[in-house]
């Protein structure tokens, strides 16, 4: 399972990097989305992958070995929400730049 996760993170990250380096704003925003999946997954697996060990101590058992690490989860949860906010901001800047410059090139002008 670890291998599958690692390869997937790699592919997501690679696709994201490729897109980030592209010249069109929409490509970059897609790249950012993919990068954030990859990075969120990466931070998440810092707590190691485990099945059926959700960090919910409902039955009062507080042996840490029974649960997965909750800290990366909390960090990733906020990261997901902030990711939404930054995507929104980027989208608006992208649209504004397109309106002002008449192009969707990331530099605001078409390459010569």
């Amino acid at each position: 399972m670890e291998a599958v996760l690692a390869i997937s993170i790699g592919i997501l990250f690679g696709s994201g990097v490729w897109l980030i380096l592209r010249p069109r704003t929409f490509q970059v925003i897609t790249g950012l989305l993919l990068l954030s999946y990859a990075v969120n997954m990466f931070i998440f697996v810092m707590g190691r992958a485990a099945v059926n060990k959700a960090p919910i101590t409902l039955n009062g058992m507080t042996d840490p070995a029974l649960y997965v690490d909750p800290l990366p989860q909390a960090l990733v949860l906020t990261a997901i929400v902030i990711g939404f906010a930054s995507t929104a901001l980027y989208l608006v800047v992208l649209l504004g730049s397109r309106g002002l410059t008449g192009t969707d090139h990331v530099d605001g002008k078409e390459p010569k």
């Binding site: 999946y37 909750p70 997901i80």
Partner: protein, 967 residues
Amino acid sequence: MLLLILTLIPFAGSFIAACMPTDARNREAWLAALIALTGLIIAIYLYPLINSGEVLRYRFDWLPSAGLYFSLRMDGLAWLFITLIQGITLLVVLYARYYMSPKDPVARFFSFLLAFMGAMVGVVLSGNLIQLVVFWELTSLCSFLLISYWHHRADARRGARMALTVTATGGLCLLVGVLMLGHIVGSYELDDVLAAGDRVREHAWYLPTLILVALGALTKSAQFPFHFWLPHAMAAPTPVSSYLHSATMVKAGIFLLMRLWPVLSGTEEWVWIIAGAGMCTMLLGSFMAIFQHDLKGLLAYSTISHLGLITVLLGIGSPLAMVAAIFHTLNHATFKASLFMAVGIIDHESGTRDMRKLRGLIHLMPYTATLAIIASAAMAGVPLLNGFLSKEMFFSETLEWGSGRWMSVVAVIYGVFSVAYSLRFIYVFFGKPAEDLPHTPHEPPRWMRFPVEFLVLCCLVVGIIPSLSVGPLLQLAVQSVLGDQTPSYSLAIWHGLNIPLLMSVMALIIGVIFYLLLRRYANLIQRDKVPLLYRFSGKQAYETVLLRLSSGAAKLEKWLSTRNIQPQLLVIFFTAIVLAIAAWPQFIHLNFTLTDQKAEPLFVALWVIGCACALTAAWQAKYHRLAALILVGGTGIVTCVTFLWLSAPDLALTQLMVETVTTILILLGLRWLPPRLTPQHLSLTIPASVWVRRSRDLGIAVVAGIGMAALSYGVMTSNVKESISDFYILRALSEGGGSNVVNVLLVDFRGFDTLGEITVLTIVALTVYALLRRFRPAAESIKLPAQQLHPIDPAIHQSAAQQAADGYLMIPAVYLRLLSPVICLVAAYLFMRGHNLPGGGFVAGLTFSIAIILQYMLAGTTWIESRLHLQPHRWLFFGLITASATGFGALALGYPFLTSHTAHLALPLLGEIHVPSAFLFDLGVFAVVVGSSMLILVALAHQSLRSHRQPGTPVTSSPTQPIKELS
């Protein structure tokens, strides 16, 4: 404690003055005068203590770990300067009350003036060197603000900038010097530093320290070669010139040299640097002063030369020279402040300061003219006035000093020059009254003249009975600097017929002759350029340096950086890859002991889909945006399922909601992007350079992906023992009162983080809203997209609301409207159970927003908003207030910020429920999430409804509001 009051009241006064109405001249002046008077009274009250040789101290911890204390210290020297500052402030405030025009925004003026006074008091009283530098820079800033007070004038702005650049650069040097000094001594406390003089002078760093401190002092006191800023600072209102640029701020440099005199002086280097700079300044300033046409310019150069004189005295370094230096500082402050005020009166009443125009003022304003003549006689060093005494002390010091007599010759030349420019100054009062002045001059109001009268009286009193009037104060200051080395000196007008007296008389006589010669042969009155020296313009040099700096910076920027984003990102990723490769050897030493768990086929299949989606999205993002968006959404869903699979239900929920909202968001944006045709459509061939670039990027992407995969695999299989996570699992229920550890972490353990996060969310939402208010789409996207106008679609004839009522959206409308309360209920449920089971404010907020967005999508913005006034701004406001109030509530109960409490309430029907205070906090999070996501999406959705200005054309009325038109 009194010291603290002394330092703080000016700042408090500054704040109050800033809040007053701009035309409240009298109130502002009363306030400022009251504050100066309080300071003066405190100073006088402290006199007996200081006089008994005590050093007053006040200190509290500022950054004790870094050896920094807020420390105030008052000894004789500080007392003298404080009294001087407060006294001059009082007079200047009185004067400024009449000088400032009712049209000027005086609130600002008095506010800056008081702030400056506070900063200056801070410099003088600082018992810690770092703190001294802080106040020092504050005086530079206040001076900048005061010089640029009339900021509509270009010369004021330029002068202010120049003064700030020079003095703040000096301040920076001073900071470094002080840090080195502190390092040598091992403490920044002034007491320790003063006691460590020998150690400092023997230290290897002595010379750099001295140079840096001297740079600070010399720039502040306008010494050669930094003197040029002072004449340009004369663009300030005259009270400011008289206050900052003659009596107080420029004395800060002198004060610093006096303060550190016991530590730094007494070496060859000190003499060369300080006395050398002082001598050049003294001669240069007095010579330039003769050839000015502006009265204030003359006084500015004269100030420069007098400061030079004091610097020379400090540079000589003998105890008697120190006495003379302190004495002359006082004398200069009195006569120069009064002269500036007199010039201000002349300017105010006649409308000009040009000495080529002004004539015969003694007939028009006899009183002011007499005062000014007496003060300028003090400036020239005429007997019976205070300037004479200190100048004579200066002469006798130059005789004592050095091997040759050349220093005394220089001193006499200086005396000659100062007599000459004083005559030049006096000249405006005599002759036939000028006819062509902007106003006819007359005497100023009674109280505007009073400060001048008072200061001139001081000049006379000190000049005639020095030992009775100023003697004890001087003794006090000298004692505090020199300690045991205090020499015996006598302040008297008549010391018998001796060489200094002869020098004074010579200077007077030659000065008069020199002036007459200049007038006859050098066309002094109308001459434009300063002879000999006009080539050496400090201003020119300053501007050249600045120009070179900025053009150099521009070149460097052009050479090293780029405005294009792609190369920058390329460099970032490339560097990251290089660094990762460099760190590889350490990475492989980690303890990889965990075994790979067996993957279920379903999980593998899931990720095959996820990766395929990602790769296809990367491939299609350029030409098929909608497809790419859907594919990215697919990857997002796979991520979401993975979270669920791997024991993170909270993450899965949040990811699912965010995924939905993000997709809607980008869908709303797609409409404004330009259509893109593939090269095949345009029958273009892709040039080879593009292929090279793509291959390079692909290479980087592949390497980055492989690296990330390896890193993740390594992390997942390495075994790390120590983790802080156990702490949270163990304490979540017992201390956080919730069994969902992730939620407890968010709202309790790391609540402060979350508070920061929702603040960021709010800021982003408001920024998005603000950006969209001025949104101007490209011309070709203003029309409705072709897909919405295709005649085959019956929906184009209906408004969004009609489409939902009886059009193609009828069926979704029925069940989505039915579902909407259910979704809201789910949101409430997720919110309520969040502390113990998966859920919480974030997820509930997103769910709730989706319930509303669905309605928007269904029936259109107009229909919804005529029925539902959501007002997302208020949600944001409410959320932030609730979350912060929860935090402050804990603070009010005596616990640290955001400490949570749990209560169990028994309610009818619902039974016992669990209400932690974190619940309220989570409510804040909920409201912020709803508010921000709604604000962003609704603002974006509204763009299709707004009428947009065509780029480049003035307001057009016709083409937009497409939906309304269609309905």
